[in-house]
Amino acid sequence: MSAFDWGVLAVTLTGIIAYGIWRSRGSRNMDDYLLAGQSLPWYHVGLSVMATQASAITFLSAPGQGFTDGMRFVQFYFGLPLAMVVLSVTFVPIFHKLRVFTAYEYLETRFDDRVRTLTAGLFLLQRGLSTGLSIYAPAIILSTILGWNIYWTNLLMGGIVLAYTVTGGTKAISYTHIQQMAVVTLAMGLAGFLTVAMLPDGVGFIDALHVAGKAGRMNVIDLNFDAESRYNIWSGLIGGFFLQLSYFGTDQSQVGRYLTGASIGQSRLGLLMNGLLKVPMQFLILLVGVLVFVFYQFNPGPIFHNKLETDKLKNSPYAQQYQLAEIRHQNIAAQRQRAVLDMQAALKTDNEAGQTEAATLLRDTDAALKTVRADVVKLIEKNNPAADTNDVNYIFLRFVLDYLPHGLIGLLIAVIFSASMGSIASAYNSLASTTIIDVYKRLIRPEGSDRHFLRASQWATVGWGVFCIVVAQFANRLGSMIEAVNILGSLFYGVILGVFVVAFYLKTIGGRATFWAAIIGEVFVILSWYLQLTAFLWLNLIGCLLVVGLAWGLQRLWGEERT
């Protein structure tokens, strides 16, 4: 990071925060503070929904995933457009017509206060903890690569968001989301463009795609139904649909975004915009990672992308073994470069035999490089058993720091902050609105002026901000961050979705049956995770089906009237 990069980073972040505070002045009541006065147009809603979902890890991890595993992760998002249509038909009109602040308010109208409080409580627990993790995840990567102190980075990451969420509320969050999406799009576009521009003379974008295809990185679609493989078209369409439906339909950090629409139609259009743009956006982010992979076919790349760990090796008893591995790596990389150039020549002359030969050599050298890498990972583990041996999240940032020009480095660090701020701001806001609307106003102090509840919402935002930063400070004992966040979500999302499915589609089932079905379902989900009965992704579906099945059974057993 040069002084110029620091300047770009500071100006970008200050600009976003100042603009958000300036545009939201005059939020003087709860309707303004929590729902932006239900006045926002569809493109605001759409960008806000997208900025909330795209966290820092999206821009760090997805290019790394494209680099190591190719394009197949894009299938994970195929269920999203389907979920957007179901939400537009079902959830949006109901939430809008009831003029609710939170999704859980509706549950009292449909069931009773117990179901509402239980569901709001599950949300607060899950979202409060996972926001702490989403502060820590980018902070640890930045602190490792840039040498920043992790505790101060956590504080900065979680703290600067409070500057505009406490004072400006939802309107400030929505306006800053637009800025954040603009910064992200500009910087990622520039990074992709420059990566192609830095390829050797005579190697263009289409050539790069051919190299990636021959190296097995353009594996966009997998039509095989395989329960073992995490990403194929079926797990994306079916599993992805349930995951996205519960995330967008029952998580207040998203519900709070599309409730700001000026009408049912504007909210719907915002969600449908997300449905149209999300898959192409993820495709392009993954493609940046694939282009970085192609770049490293022509240029020397690191064996292991987390420099902190390899630097430790250089000063350890294993230094000599690491040095030998580096020499092997360089030799194989030189062979691979020749194979890629042969491939280029064969493609240009339509020489099929040459293409096949080069492709075989390319895959052989790729496999040999993976072997060297596995040896180095073993050395890292021997040297430090507690080391993080997963470097996927470091690939893109390492490339940015090693090869991209100053100024753009600062802008891409700003992307990580911006994306992180966008998600965290929505989370703080949703935690505060659920705390005040579903707990404080409902159970503790039902009577009070609008001004009193506005102040209480601001204090709740501060309180949750502090809570999430404290969680982030303790998160370094949890291992893989992305898995931790997804597991945490899967423990609660399925049950919450089950409650909403009963509410919307099974009109004869009452509050008592649903409440106990949710309690039993949640206990079962946590037990099956604890006893490792199934992979965590399936917990979403199991939780949902359990609540629906149990609620139906209990209703038949008790035969109560619908409450």
Partner: protein, 38 residues
């Protein structure tokens, strides 16, 4: 909410069909791209 519809769609159902149709077209294009490059 009828005036909220964009000029190219006459009803919400038509708009939903456009979103789902776009997904289908993307999947087909991705598949063709993959076959072409492999």
């Amino acid at each position: 909410n009828q005036p909220d519809l964009p000029p190219f769609a006459r009803s919400w159902s038509q708009l939903y069909a456009i979103v789902l149709g776009s997904l289908a077209v993307e999947i087909v294009l991705f598949y063709v791209l993959m076959r072409w490059l492999s």
